[in-house]
Amino acid sequence: MKAIVFSEDGEIASQMVNYLKGKAEVIASTLTEEKEKCIRAGAEKLYLLSGIAEPENISEAISEIKNATGADYIFIGSTANGRDIAGILSAKEDMKPISEITSFEINDGKATVTRFLYGGKAVSTEETSATLYVYAPGISESARAESDTPTETIQLKEPSVKPESEEPKTSGGVDLEKAKIIVSVGRGLGSKEGLGIAEELAKKVNGEIAGSRPVCLDYHWLSEDRQVGLSGKKVKPKVYIALGISGQIQHIAGIRGAKTVIAINKDKSAPIFEECDYGIVGDLFQIVPKLISAL
């Protein structure tokens, strides 16, 4: 099998290359700006898309790559634009799609995938003849090959959706997927001021700060790239410390890869206690300071 991988995020594109190596002949593609993150991912060839990039003209370029290489499979990283690109490609190229895969195996041309359904309540194992796959970032690591991949640049066509301006999202440039220890906070923090104590703990254990969706998305106590869960990052630290997080299934979906989960929550019946290795029932504002001084 011959597969094209694309993500406008070079790191995600590299992860896909590494994940598919040994299963397929892999051709990578990303945006020119992301070249450095992808040039040593270990693909057979790297296509760099240059110009104003919108899902519409990116999907056209991927179609071009498909024609040029005769690839029969396409893998797209699941990002906001990535899913739009996958949708367009699926319709244009008449390729059957499958979304948010968390694993992919292929035997005699028959693929088996797993993915979450029902908001993370179910893991579905499916046998499929789909040829277009949307890859859930973070299910594998990227690797670094010995040498650079040969590249070719494709000039993107003028899109009909015109970008006018952009604002950066506040981000600390964190790489939560790579963190060894994560201190994660939920609505139980009460207010942004509550963050101080969590940050102190994170510093003490040399960890990164993360949060549940309300904390990142609704209240903006943390930047969005620190959201853990089904619609956020899938993390796999050695220790994940959940402070004031109830442990809804969508949050749990992001921490299944953690080796040890520690939870502090004042509600004894919080679902997080079903999904942790060590749990302390109590007020985080009383427990965390004690924990810090005991460390």
Partner: protein
Amino acid sequence: MQYIDGGSVGYNIAVLIKVIPDLEQIKAASGTGQIQIEKVPLRLDILSEHAIEAAVQLKEKYGGKVTGFIFGNNESIPLMKKAYAMGVDEGLVITGYKENNPTLTASVISEKLKSLQFDIIVLGNQSADTYTGLLPGMIASKINARLIGNVLSIEIEGKEVKARKSLEKKIEVVKAQMPVVISVTQETNQPRLPPVMQIMAAGRKTIQSEEYKGQTPSYTLTKSRVAPKSERKKQIFEKPEDGIQAVVRVIKEEAR
């Protein structure tokens, strides 16, 4: 701008609404862990509710008409009432939905949209049950409309739509000419809770329905659908002092 219903000026807006099982009520069978969704009550997909809210707000601000579409089955029909109560003017339920098959859903809905000449089509960026996220691109492509995905806010001027797109690392402001397909994110708005009067009025409105009689070509075979296994130790301490001791030990061990 178009003339709608031979009189009022405004935009012809479509909103795509998915009916899904109430996720909160889905249980796994004890023992096998098999997920059971039979008999789970239905509700509107939360992202579809955000889409309805966005469509109705556009109508309220710029004038026009909102038509809701559900590709579902007979049980889905009454759920259109909630969309009416939220401000959707007309609704069509296409029955005959069998399983999650984005390709089929996109083509069934696109066929309808094509014949009706919409200016704006609003939908969710990822439905809450299957998390597919493919319909926006598929529909835009099939009806040959511009796609503006994952938007936070929308403004209209004449035939031009300007929107803020929420991407992972940035917010991008884009412009496009109608017809446009717009997918909304959860941050876009807060879906309204319709007042009782509106709910009652909605109950009296007719809901059109028709059946999709074509095939459902399946390309995926589900082998199993089980609750994710938790192999966590679940040592819970109700005395914080004991808990702190245990936790300190673990952290020191792992952080080495």
